[in-house]
C-alpha cells in the first residue's frame, strides 16, 4: 500500500530558472511542484496519476521512490516511511519509466542479475526468477546479446524483466508507455495488469486518457502540483459532465 498524506515539494529557483520561467515567477525564490497532495493506493488495484506535463506527477513518484525528499507531509510505502526508512521502501518497490534505462554494454542476463543483486537476492533466487521471467517474456533468444544491439521491443522486455526481478509488492510506473510504439506499449500494459492480478500495489502516471480508461481502478487528477480529483474511476465516470475524459479533465482543471 502507498499512503500519501499532505505532501508538498518545493524546489529552489535559480536566477536562470526564474528568468526562463517568465514574469509570473519574477522574484520567487521557490516553486511548489507538489502542493498538499493526499491519496492512497491499495493492493490489487491500479492507481493512475493523471495530469499534463509539468503537473508534478514525476516529482510525486520520485518522492515515493525516495529519490526526492518531501518538503512537508509524509509517504508510507508497504508500511515504511520514506523519510525514516528509505532503504526499506526501496526494497519493496519496482520502478519503471518510459525510458528503457538499460546499460547498452551489458546483456539482458547481466542487467537482470545486477538488479537482483542490488535488491539483495541470492544467486539461486536470481537464476530461478530470471528463468521464469525470460520464459514468460520470450527473452531466451537474446538473453546473452549486448543490450545496445537489441531492437526496441527486446530492450523494453529487458526493462520489464529488470523491474520485476525482485518481485516487489509495490510497482511504480512513471509514464511507462511514453514514446513507445503500439506493440511495445501493449507489453507494458500487460505487465501493469498482471501486477494488479498478482495483488500488487500499482501506481502509474500518464497524460494519456485512453490508458486511464483501459487500466485504472483509482485515479488522481493533478495539475500545477495540486490535486483536483481523487477517487475511483467509476465514481469519476458517474460524475462526468462531459463526454470524454479529455473534456472532463480540461473542465476540471480549467474551472480552478
Amino acid at each position: 500500500m502507498i499512503q500519501v498524506t499532505e505532501l508538498t515539494k518545493e524546489f529552489k529557483l535559480s536566477r536562470r530558472a526564474r528568468r526562463e520561467m517568465g514574469p509570473r515567477f519574477k522574484g520567487a525564490k521557490t516553486i511548489k511542484a507538489v502542493d498538499n497532495v493526499s491519496f492512497t493506493c491499495v493492493p490489487g488495484r491500479i492507481f493512475g496519476l493523471i495530469g499534463p506535463n509539468g503537473a508534478g506527477k514525476t516529482t510525486i513518484l520520485r518522492m515515493i521512490a525516495t529519490m526526492l525528499k518531501p518538503s512537508s507531509g509524509s509517504i508510507t510505502v508497504a508500511g515504511h516511511d520514506t523519510r525514516t526508512e528509505p532503504q526499506k521502501v526501496r526494497e519493496n518497490i519496482g520502478f519503471m519509466t518510459g525510458q528503457t534505462a538499460l546499460y547498452d554494454r551489458l546483456t539482458p542476463t547481466e542487467m537482470v542479475r545486477y538488479m537482483g543483486q542490488l535488491h539483495g537476492m541470492d544467486e539461486a533466487r536470481i537464476r530461478q526468477r530470471r528463468e521464469e521471467i525470460f520464459e514468460l517474456l520470450g527473452m531466451n533468444d537474446f538473453a546473452d546479446r549486448r543490450i545496445g544491439r537489441l531492437s526496441s521491443g527486446m530492450k523494453q522486455k529487458t526493462s520489464i524483466a529488470r523491474t520485476i526481478i525482485h518481485d516487489s509488492d509495490v510497482m511504480v510506473f512513471d509514464e511507462p508507455t511514453e514514446g513507445l510504439d503500439v506493440m511495445t506499449s501493449r507489453a507494458i500494459v500487460d505487465l501493469i495488469r498482471s501486477c494488479r492480478n498478482d495483488g500488487k500495489t500499482v501506481i502509474f502516471s500518464t497524460h494519456r486518457m485512453g490508458e486511464v480508461k483501459l487500466l485504472c481502478d483509482d485515479i488522481a487528477i493533478i495539475h500545477d502540483g495540486r490535486l483536483f480529483y481523487c477517487g475511483s474511476r467509476t465514481e469519476f465516470e458517474a460524475r462526468m459532465t462531459h463526454e470524454t475524459y479529455e473534456d472532463e479533465f480540461i473542465h476540471l482543471v480549467g474551472a480552478a
Partner: protein, 397 residues
C-alpha cells in the same frame, strides 16, 4: 558493503566493454608513451646526425692575412668555402639563409699575431638551431687555431705552460648515476603518470556519472535498496582504479620505450631498471593512489552535476590544463620539495616522485605529502558523496 562490491563488479565489466575507456586506459599509454619516446629520440638523433654531416657554406674574408686559419677551414670537409662574395652583402645573404656564415679577418691580423698580440676575428651567423650550429663549427676551428698559436708562443718563449693554467681542478662528483638521472629526467615520470592517471579516470568518470543520467539508468539505480553513499563509493572506486591502472600502464609504456633502445649504455640502462624496480613502483603507487582518489572524486562530482555526457566532457576536459600546470612545474630543475610545496596537490606528487627516484627523499616531507594527499582524497570523496546527495545535482534541469 555487499552492494558496493556488486556496483564495482558491474561498473568494471561495463567499463571494460567501453572502447573509449579502453582506448584511454590501455591503448593510449601503452602505444603513445613508447611512441613518443621512440619518436623524440629518433628525431633528435636524426637531427644531430644531419646537423653534424651538413655542409655549411661559409665565406672567408682575409685569407691572405690568416693563411693558416684559412687552411683549417679549407681542410674541414663539412665546410664549403664560397668565394667572390663582397663583404657588404654578407649580412643580407646570411639573414636570407643563402649562406650559413662568414669569417672576417681584418688586415692588421697578421701583424698583431706576429707581434705576439691579440688578433681579432669577426664571425657572422644566424643563431638558430641547437645541434652542430655554424657558430659552433666556426668557433671550434678558430679556437683550435688559437690553441696552436698559444702552444707555439709558449714553446718559442720557453715559458712554463702552467703560467697560463695556474689552477688545476680535481672534481669528485658524489652524485650517483641514479641521482643524476632523476635530476635530469625524474620529473618526466610523475608528469606522465599524473596526466595519464587523470585521462584514464576521465572517461569512466563521465560515463559512470553523466552517462548514467543520460541513459536514464540513474533513476533505476536510485530506486534500488543501494544507498547513495554505496553508489558513490562503488563508482568512485572504479574511477580511481581506472586512473591508477592507466598511470601504471603508462609507466609500463615508458619501460617498453626505454627497452626499445639498445643504444642506451648498459650502466645507464641498469640504473633506469633499478629506478623502475618493484620497490620503487610500489612506493610510487602509494602516491598515485591518493592523487587518483582526488581525481576520481572531482571527475565524478562534476560528472554527476552535468546533464549529459557531452556537458560533462566540456566541463571536465579543461581541467587537464589545471592538472598539467603543477605537473610541469614539477619538472622544472631547481624546484625542490619543501614543507610548503609538500602541501600543494599534484605538485607534491611530482616533486616527491622525483626525490624518490633520486633516492634522496626527506622522510618528513614525504610524510607531509602522504598526510596531505590522503586528507585531500578523503575530503574529496566526502565532498563527492555530499554532492551526490543534493537533489539539485541529480535532478538538475
Amino acid at each position: 558493503m555487499r552492494r558496493v562490491v556488486v556496483i564495482i563488479r558491474k561498473e568494471v565489466l561495463d567499463s571494460m566493454r567501453d572502447r573509449r575507456t579502453l582506448l584511454m586506459m590501455v591503448a593510449m599509454p601503452l602505444l603513445l608513451v613508447p611512441g613518443i619516446i621512440i619518436l623524440m629520440v629518433k628525431l633528435q638523433t636524426a637531427q644531430m646526425e644531419q646537423a653534424e654531416s651538413r655542409q655549411q657554406r661559409i665565406v672567408f674574408v682575409g685569407a691572405e692575412v690568416a693563411p693558416a686559419l684559412y687552411a683549417l677551414f679549407q681542410e674541414d670537409d663539412r665546410v664549403t668555402l664560397v668565394p667572390g662574395i663582397h663583404r657588404d652583402s654578407l649580412a643580407a645573404l646570411i639573414a636570407a639563409e643563402r649562406l650559413d656564415g662568414a669569417v672576417i679577418v681584418p688586415p692588421d691580423f697578421a701583424r698583431l699575431i706576429a707581434g705576439d698580440r691579440q688578433g681579432r676575428v669577426e664571425i657572422i651567423f644566424k643563431g638558430v638551431g641547437s645541434f652542430g650550429s655554424v657558430e659552433d663549427r666556426m668557433q671550434g676551428l678558430i679556437t683550435g687555431y688559437a690553441a696552436g698559436l698559444v702552444a707555439e708562443r709558449i714553446a718559442r718563449l720557453q715559458l712554463d705552460p702552467d703560467l697560463f693554467d695556474p689552477i688545476a681542478v680535481d672534481g669528485t662528483d658524489l652524485a650517483s648515476m641514479q641521482e643524476k638521472l632523476a635530476s635530469a629526467v625524474g620529473g618526466f615520470l610523475p608528469y606522465m603518470f599524473i596526466i595519464f592517471g587523470f585521462m584514464g579516470a576521465m572517461y569512466p568518470g563521465i560515463d559512470l556519472g553523466a552517462g548514467e543520467k543520460e541513459r536514464g539508468t540513474l533513476e533505476t539505480l536510485l530506486s534500488t535498496p543501494a544507498g547513495r553513499f554505496e553508489i558513490v563509493l562503488g563508482k568512485f572506486i572504479v574511477v580511481m582504479a581506472a586512473g591508477v591502472a592507466t598511470a601504471l600502464i603508462a609507466m609500463f609504456g615508458l619501460y617498453l620505450g626505454v627497452r626499445s633502445f639498445p643504444e642506451i649504455p648498459t650502466e645507464i640502462f641498469d640504473v633506469i631498471m633499478e629506478m623502475l624496480g618493484p620497490k620503487m613502483i610500489l612506493l610510487i603507487l602509494t602516491l598515485i593512489l591518493p592523487i587518483s582518489a582526488f581525481f576520481a572524486a572531482v571527475i565524478l562530482g562534476l560528472s554527476f552535476y552535468a546533464r549529459s555526457f557531452k556537458e560533462a566532457q566540456s566541463i571536465i576536459a579543461p581541467l587537464n590544463i589545471a592538472i598539467i600546470v603543477p605537473a610541469v612545474i614539477g619538472t622544472i630543475p631547481g624546484i625542490e620539495l619543501n614543507a610548503t610545496l609538500a602541501l600543494v596537490p599534484i605538485l607534491n606528487v611530482a616533486l616527491a616522485t622525483k626525490d624518490l627516484l633520486a633516492g634522496s627523499i626527506n622522510p618528513f616531507y614525504l610524510a607531509e605529502v602522504y598526510v596531505s594527499l590522503f586528507l585531500l582524497a578523503g575530503l574529496s570523496l566526502w565532498g563527492c558523496a555530499q554532492w551526490f546527495n543534493r537533489e539539485a545535482t541529480l535532478f538538475r534541469s
